[in-house]
Assembly symmetry: C2
Homo-oligomer: 384 residues x 2
């Protein structure tokens, strides 16, 4: 069996070893993202990998119940769950341990999550999740802040050709409810909208179907979508959603005039626990890099918690969008070189690779150890 | 119930939320340690949190079997285990996926491990493990390199009053075997040595007991211990251990003349899978910071794998030894300040905290948000 097949057979499907160059690339990108979050006042928290099942899977966490591994805790004799999503943990921290802190609370995190099954598009069962949560404020400035922070942080790690797709996942159901569409028809409308099936939407019939068909057709570049949306009569709840979309877009336009923004007026998939303005981050090269939006934070569930917004980035896709860092400059330091002499080279930015025994041919030894340079007579020289 | 009791009741015993200042402190320290390892040619790898039980708990991993949580994998229908120690994973990567790479292979890692039970001294069941592995070389230069790297990395994160305790955990059994002590007596000797019970050691009797009693008494500051050890007649296997200790200490003395080194000549607890020169890192303020030493890397188990050495640091104790970083300088940026203007402050090193709505009293608002400064008329001013 070739080494690679042997190695992959060692690990369960969807789990993998991150090998040297990739691991350094990921660590540097995560560090850069967190530095950007910190500069905007987001303070890092680290919840544990495992919690009691009933806490981790309550409220917003319930959506991940089927994707979550369980463990029996021999200490408490209660079931624990391995986190499949960090967001509910951050909301829990904000609303319990930090409940007496001044609002808004700005928090950020980076960590591993584990899932029972991978999807066809994303077979991995372990991810690095990196993100922020902004808990407390209702203002559209909060919506704009998290979108702009995501954009700025991704730009800081070198993601090119970034775009943001805004949506309000509550809009479809508010329109259907406001216009008296039956629940059955609403379900059929959703299914047709998910398929982007205009004929299917029209076939359902009724006032909501006509309006949703128009909204689906108007989705796309932000200014065109907003122009179409502005002239439509909307029921009350959806009118609020339109206002939030308009206000947030205006703030984004001022702060980041060059940003590519699209709007999907009928999107809701993947935003099951979002309760207001939401967004997806795209790169031309790597597809979806992350998503975020409004929700209610709190152990009591969606309806009673605090207003909150935030986003999560998928590091596997982010790394696909970011050019790999250049390999560090390695210098072979022959056996017997003093510890301090090698330290001087490290202080100059070299990675020193010490020879642990005398080498008959130091040039060959440097090459064997993937060093482009070697130290000889106190001087760094290229090999070849 | 006070907020703290409520919060701790939310989490299983031994698991906790790392809150803002502590999380940033830990992340910065981990990053600094890994940068130090990288500068010495150690390349980062990230194995998964979970592996097949039979792989994770084979060879050196078997020691952690009772401390390891199991999960059923619905995909393969095989048992998986959540890692309780990262070291065996790094050894696996080196001997499988990287088996064709030039030796020595230098690898480093940082990650979370989970354990079924905490100990009395360390009740935590989740730790951050950070460390290096040096796989391939037999030379004492390798032993010295990992000790010096641990010392240098800990100094780089600011650990004061660091000391290293060297030991060779194989020495006791080699002496007992070499001098023909019975297995029963060897067990009794070990128990007495673990208690540092000189009378108990003497009571066992026989040639090994006399020698081990002398070794126990000679343990302490390195030079005194080595002087005592030098004059003792040792059986063959233990003679090899003495030579390695002497050679490594000589290398340490040259590279780090100011380093406090002690030697425990009869230590073996906590080094169950070590096969040669080993060490513990101590801080006067925080006790044991980590340990390391020789072992055999490879899925086939202790006797057939490759020679290897390395160390693991316990971040909880490391952080107790390191002075907390100074809090970042936060500046309150009132509502309506342009995104770019705040960006200029961030580029100057400020943490900007944006007001999301107009504030009637900006000074009070800055204080409420824990900002020592505020931006007013384009100028940063302290708030009292």
């Amino acid at each position: 069996m070739p080494a690679d097949a042997l190695s992959s057979a060692l690990l369960p499907a969807g789990l993998h070893d991150v090998l040297p160059s990739e691991a350094a690339h990921e660590a540097a990108a995560v560090e850069r993202l967190l530095a950007e979050f910190a500069a905007h006042g987001y303070r890092r928290v680290d919840p544990p990998l495992v919690e009691f099942e009933e806490n981790l899977l309550s409220g917003a966490g319930a959506a991940m119940a089927k994707q979550t591994f369980r463990l029996m805790d021999p200490h408490s004799q209660r079931m624990m769950a391995v986190r499949a999503d960090i967001t509910p943990q951050i909301a829990r921290i904000a609303t319990t341990r930090l409940k007496n802190e001044a609002r808004p609370v700005r928090l950020c995190y980076a960590g591993q999550v584990l899932r029972v099954k991978g999807s066809q598009l994303r077979p991995e069962r372990q991810f690095t999740q990196v993100g922020v949560e902004l808990i407390g404020p209702l203002e559209p400035d909060a919506d704009a802040e998290v979108v702009l922070l995501a954009v700025q942080a991704l730009a800081a790690v070198g993601v090119p050709h970034l775009s943001v797709d805004l949506c309000v996942p509550t809009m479809v159901s508010r329109i259907c409810r406001g216009l008296g569409q039956s629940e059955d028809d609403t379900r059929r409308l959703r299914a047709a909208l998910d398929r982007k099936d205009a004929a299917g939407v029209a076939a359902v019939g009724g006032p909501a179907a006509a309006l949703l068909g128009t909204l689906m057709g108007a989705s796309g570049p932000a200014d065109r979508a907003m122009a179409a949306l502005a002239s439509l009569p909307l029921p009350e709840g959806a009118e609020k959603d339109r206002r939030r979309l308009t206000d947030t877009l205006a703030l984004l336009r001022v702060a980041a005039p060059g940003l590519t923004v699209t709007i999907d007026l009928v999107e809701h998939r993947g935003f099951e626990y979002q309760t207001g303005l939401s967004f997806t981050l795209f790169s031309r090269e790597a597809g979806e890099l992350g998503q975020g939006g409004r929700y209610r934070a709190g152990v009591q569930g969606d309806d009673t918690g605090e207003p909150a917004t935030g986003f999560t980035l998928y590091m596997d896709n982010v790394l696909r969008a970011v050019p790999a860092a250049s390999a560090p400059k390695r210098v072979y330091v022959p056996h017997g070189t003093g510890w301090a002499a090698a330290g001087t080279l490290r202080a100059e930015g070299w990675v020193t690779v010490a020879g642990l025994a005398p080498a008959a041919d130091p040039v060959a030894e440097a090459k064997r150890l993937h060093c482009g340079h070697r130290l000889t007579d106190g001087v760094v020289q290229p090999v070849e």
